[in-house]
Amino acid sequence: MRGLVSNKMRSLLTMLGVIIGVGSVITLVSIGEGVKSSISEQIQGLGSNLVLVTPGKGAVGMNASSMGAAVSELSYEDALAVERNSEAVNSVAPLIESGANVEYQGETKATLLSGTTESYGEVRNSPLAAGEFFTTGDIRGYRHVAVIGDTVSRKIFGRENPVGKNIMLNKVGFEVIGVMEKKGPTLTIDNDDRVFIPITVAEEMLDTNQVNMMFVQAGGPDLVSTAVAETRKIIGTRHRKNDFVVSEQEDILNTFQGIMGTLTGMLGGIAGVSLVVGGIGIMNIMLVTVTERTREIGIRKAVGAKKRDIMFQFLLESIFISALGGMLGIAAGFLGARLLDRVIPRLPTVISPWSIAAAFIFALLVGLFFGIYPARKAARLDPIQALRYE
């Protein structure tokens, strides 16, 4: 141990490999975990007891649109049918989405236009900050009313109260009747940069009857699986084929978390390779140390040190280097994550305890593994040859 202390610079440089290795494992995993947790939050924040219906994934070679079928993909009618016919379903919010330009008194802005129904606010757990959401009457009456998101409100109206003002959406006039409460961003996506209009108006404006997705809200947590089954049955009967996907919020979350877990593991693994490189650095320096301290080893053997005593001494040193490097690496990992938070505030990192434990234990194992060869070399030295070493 004294050898390590007396050679601070060299020990520090040797540790650097381990420090960088452990630090990058922790930092990279914190990025993965950060993405995972913020998207998980987003999925959970969609609303409660949700079932998501999306078009696609029909039988092989049977894509609905290519077949030119009368009822292709998902429609507003599908949503109404589910809402009407399923006992387990509380309400359904279909969504037709498209990019659009919003204009007010010369100010224009590109935004996301969503045609939906009065259920949206309830299903998606999205309350209003001001005004009101449109009603069934607005939808049936094809009324040109709009509810805008917080970002649109701030960009177009500034401090002005938007409620009651007239805006243009793709050159079509609308009256603003409400402003949504701020949701905050998910990673780089601004959830408040949106405008909602009645679904019937959207169908007309965008000349489509296909909805991009449907949020189905079950009557309670225990009704979710029934809601899934009934939704499948009702839409399946209407389409006569399986050209849509029904997924529980829980499934989406699990699938997504699974994918992110794999990705995060890969990131950690790649960073782990640098730890192995750090281990080679330890082995290198330990071999130098053993050579430099040949006489010391000879003296120890001359007074009765056994092979295992010498072996243990040098193994302890390499494990000590990797342990200290590991601890500094943990600090470096925290620092790296903090730095990333500064540089990319939209990408919040989450440091997971398992990554710290795994990186540290791996560092110890690396120190042990790469310390074995130099320690054995030291232990096998012949006492008299070691004593004669110049």
């Binding site: 004294r2 050898g3 007396s6 006489r295 010391e296 000879g298 003296i299 120890r300 053997k301 001359a302 007074v303 009765g304 040190a305 056994k306 092979k307 005593d309 006492p383 008299i384 004593l387």
Partner: protein
Amino acid sequence: MIIHISNMYKFYGLKNNRVSALKHISLDIASGEMLSIMGPSGSGKSTLMNILGCLDRPTSGVYEFKGRDISNLNDNELAVLRNQYIGFVFQNFNLLSRSTALANVELPMVYAGIAAGKRHNIARELLDVVGLKDRMNHYPNELSGGQKQRVAIARALVNHPAVLLADEPTGNLDTRSGTEVIKLFDTLNSIGVTVVVVTHDSDVAVQTRRIVYIRDGEIVSDVSGSSIKKDQKILPYEIRPGVLGFDKPHEWNGRDGF
């Protein structure tokens, strides 16, 4: 006989470079003896001492230590032998430069598995005996040659060896320090420690009861005199069995595989 050597050879190198460092060596040393080995430089004295100290192995021949043929012992058993039964004092001290005098003296006890507290006490006591009470926490480079050699002797004694081997222990010392070291050996011998000293100094040699001359790797003479002199007291107190807690008998007692 504590040491029995017969027809022992030691070669260095291979084939063309082969050096016969020791040839046809036969030597018996009784327990409690004190003898000196003399001979010109390169005659094989260190080679013989290293083999006696179990630091090296002979090429051929028999070496029995306390009746046990050391060629049958493995590395671990030799380590125990060096640790428990043999004290070795080198011409160049061979102290650990990064350890204090105290830590150097403790070293053999570390490998003997003696607890730290007891180690400290024994090491302090022995450093006191060799007159280095006030130098315990000094590093070797802060000590004079004579002081370093006394640290080395204290280290050689901590595990209460049966045999003390010293290869030119006074070679790097001034006359006065050398005399003190030899007096120390003499005292140790008087309490039963077998002492073998390699020396160039015939004044030192005549103080021992037996002188072995080596030339070109062969023993050319082995004389025992009766020039027995009185013990001179140079130590703060006399080392007697038991005084340092050294009361173990010099017997093979089966510890650590023996």
